[in-house]
Amino acid sequence: MQDILSLATANLLTPMILCFALGLFAALARSELSIPEAVAKGMSIYLLFSIGFKGGVAVADHGLDATLLAALAVGVILSFVIPFVAFGLLKAMTRLSATDAAAVAAHYGSISIVTFVTGSSVVQGAGLVAEGYMVAVAAAMEAPAIISALYLASRSGGRAEKMDADLWREILLNGSIVLLVGSFLIGLVTGQPGMARIEAFIVAPFQGVLCLFLLDMGLVAGRGMRGAKGVMTPGVLAFGLVMPVVGAAFGLAAGMALGLSTGGVALMMVLAGSASYIAVPAAMRVALPDANPSVYLTLSLGVTFPFNLVIGIPAWVAVAQAVGG
């Protein structure tokens, strides 16, 4: 425990976390500092491409591990199951309507790619090497939670839109899944020779880009917080802090059952403990329009994301090391 705390404190003083804090501060102080939307989107494309490609090259280097398929299957199951847990907790801890609770549950079953990217960077900084295919697991965990949530909503009498072909395509081919899986495959096919060509672009500047990107995340999270007065009851807030721990526990169990490396277990915890704030909100607006976006966006982006960044990720890495080492 002492170790975990000191590790978390060390993590607080990295440029990445401090950039996020700067963004939060600027937004809460109502500074007009802002990063253009196009630039933020450009940085997220860079980060996804880079992490996908590096994962693919890692798999090309070490050969296809027999656990890849098992890990994908476990990831999909986690994404299906976690919304039920989250829904139960929400019903117990908050007064959210069933529709709102279902929408929130979808976010926690799915994953946050930026949390995953930051987690990968911390895992690597701790001298660990995770399975390269974890990026594919991340992609696989994005969508299933949405189905569970729609089931939960309609079971409770909510008016979920029916899932038409368009919605399926939007969810399964959303930009980050396609980019992540695509660059993973490109890395897998081109391997080290491909890496040699573009290494100077995707490896060296990575952490610096992540800093500026987290600055923007801080700005967005802070602006979201400012606009969310009234939505955040103590129960809702508590859920946003408890749920990532619960999710990470599921991730820990799954990672150990799969026999992943220490780094892999840490990333599985990061994934299971993170909450989506891009793919799922857009899907909820289409499929569950009566759910209040302020609730799920504030929870996911304003509570759980900062929690994971500052406390969760370093803690999960420490736990994985304690358990695995």
Binding site: G224, R285, V286
Partner: protein
């Protein structure tokens, strides 16, 4: 110059619904429309700005010029999509130059 009566319909809608709206318009026989970006706004669901958004969220404005007799079909098609969603529809009288185009 000679002009012809028309209606100008302006629909402000969530970006994730844009494709569904334009598909509904096309299905209703409305082939002309223009999509404009929106920076922010305020309504019953509160204030938002593009800066406070991540991902695909945000809104767009869809502007259609149609013949007056097509207005009702258009509004019904649009309303089906907008109904349960955040957004507004406004209509103004307008005139257009080349009626055969609408």
């Amino acid at each position: 110059m000679q002009t012809h009566k028309a209606k100008r319909v302006e629909i402000i809608i969530e970006a994730p619904m844009e494709g569904r709206l334009t598909a509904a318009l096309e299905k209703a026989g409305v082939t002309g429309f223009t999509v404009l970006p929106v920076l922010g706004g305020s309504g019953r669901s509160g204030r938002w700005t593009r800066e406070g958004q991540v991902g695909r969220s945000g809104m767009v404005a869809v502007v259609c010029l149609v013949r007056p007799e097509k207005l009702d079909t258009l509004l019904e098609a649009a309303f089906t999509v907008v109904d349960r969603h955040i957004g507004v529809i406004g209509v103004t009288d307008a005139e257009v130059l080349r009626a055969e185009r609408f």
